[in-house]
Amino acid sequence: MSRWFRLVAAEIGLDAARIDDLELCLNELLANVLNYAYADGRADPAEKAREIRIIAEGGVSDLRVSVEDDGRPFDPRAKPSPEPPGSLDRAGIGGWGLPIVRALTKDLTYERRGERNRVTIHAQESATVTGAALNNL
């Protein structure tokens, strides 16, 4: 998946830093789907084959990448942002995936289409982490 995305993004003409950031965000979104969309911790022999789609749309100035799955409804925007850690004492070991996505992208949108979740990230215009992004952790 990473290799495919890097090829597509390079073909579009995205700079290396934004490719790195979006590849990471895509990995984080996909990990969320794999870990939570279907999981109840038990193997079910009757489980149907699942489908996850990754869709890239737009061009160098408005690239959007979506992860679409047929798992349980999950709106990542509804997940509360953790407080910035402030100290090592208070820093969590996990839960960094969505904060990373929020900080490294311009926008994160969600739709439930029928039985499918579709999460879309919008590329930033540059790879700089902005103050606004930090506040959105």
Partner: protein
Amino acid sequence: MELTYEDSAEGIRLIRLAGRMDVEGTHEIDLKFTSVASCQKLLVLVDMSLVEFLSSLGLGTLVRSAKAQMSRTGMLVLYSPTPAVARVLQATQIDQIVPVYYDLGEARRALVPGGVPSV
């Protein structure tokens, strides 16, 4: 993912990581990293200059060992992250609680106040 380490005469454990700290890469080194970076009180310098990719899972591995060292009154610092990795540290504000250095001498002095010979 590759992990090598060495202990210096000044008492610093230098851990060199190389590769992608994605899900697969982090799983490859997680146990060894925890073992060499967390299991006793240490002054740990993690060379990140050859880490091309840092996922949230990899970040968790680094933070867990940094917290373990803090609780043992040791210390863990990061050295020379690549731009992509630095952006993740900045985006999560981990760079404000786990020291990040780009100068090796400075990193060593942070671990051993009073200064150490340069390498």
